[in-house]
């Protein structure tokens, strides 16, 4: 047998061993640490897309918060999209503009106020970025409604805007 084929054999065997070792150490360490991660996150179907930060809420929850006016809704999309249409009573705060617009948009909002951020599309990152930026600025109760604009419209919930 050639040297090369022997090396390839040991590559496969050793890679497997190393992978097993990493798996064992990773899982073992995770078990003993106080801030361990649950290995499989479980939850209702709506929160399937919940991030590891546990920020997201379901459409049903968001609807209830909106109906009872318990939360301030923040639209994280760029202004033209917001102008065309947004969740009723929502304010517009694209995360990349937060330094410029923060005082104007959230100057009157106390830090413990419940805030729900949203944007459009299941893969839209803006609402997550906005939620994160708000947390960094001291807002304690921030939630994300993933794919919020689409879900909200599809459910026929109250919206406003120019409609263009």
């Amino acid at each position: 047998m050639s040297k090369s084929s022997q090396v390839i054999k040991s590559m496969i065997r050793q890679s497997g061993l190393i992978l097993l070792l990493a798996l064992a150490v990773g899982l073992g360490v995770n078990q003993v640490r106080s801030d361990r991660l649950p290995l499989v996150r479980s939850g209702p179907a709506e929160s399937r897309s919940a991030a590891a930060d546990g920020l997201t809420i379901s459409l049903e929850e968001a609807r209830r918060l909106h109906e009872t006016d318990q939360a301030l809704f923040l639209d994280a999309r760029p202004e033209p999209w917001f102008e065309m249409g947004h969740i009723q009573r929502a304010r517009n705060l694209p995360p990349e503009e937060i330094d410029r617009l923060f005082a104007q948009v959230l100057g009157d909002v106390p830090p413990h106020r419940l805030i729900v951020t949203y944007c459009d599309g299941e893969n839209c990152q803006l609402s997550h970025d906005l939620a994160f930026a708000l947390k960094q600025r001291g807002f304690t109760e921030v939630r994300v409604l993933v794919d919020g604009w689409r879900l909200w419209q599809e459910a026929g919930l109250p919206i406003e805007g120019s409609g263009g």
């Binding site: 390839i8 040991s10 991660l37 991030a51 590891a52």
Partner: protein, 149 residues
Amino acid sequence: MKRGEGLAFLVRLFLGGVFIYAGLDKIIDPAGFAKIIYNYRIVPEISINLIAVCLPWLEFILGVMLVAGIFRPGTLVLVNLLLLIFLGGLVFNLARGLDVHCGCFTTDASGDPATWLAVVRDAILLALSLGLLVKTVRRPDLTGAKVKE
């Protein structure tokens, strides 16, 4: 000591150091790393936490093995594979315009954005580790893989 062996040794030390350094920050903050993986939007959600818990240790262990020079063929295969996967993830998200944090060397969301610079950095590491891998396959005696005649 044969020619080329000294250089290969230095490359091994360097790559090993990079992997140890990259693994440590993520070992400290698996939750932060899980969020970064989530934002990449490539792997199925159910696997995210398992990856966040084990991948940093894999990087760390590979780094230690590179430095120590044990299990060399297997280590190099995995190092190349990881760098290739990282490269693919970076390029994929840059190409589709997703603004993700690299998460390469820190789980701190304020630094280390995924840019083309990160791609170049990964490509350089990949070139180095590929060089070591080729060397191991072609000249197993030289790079310390234990083989029988």
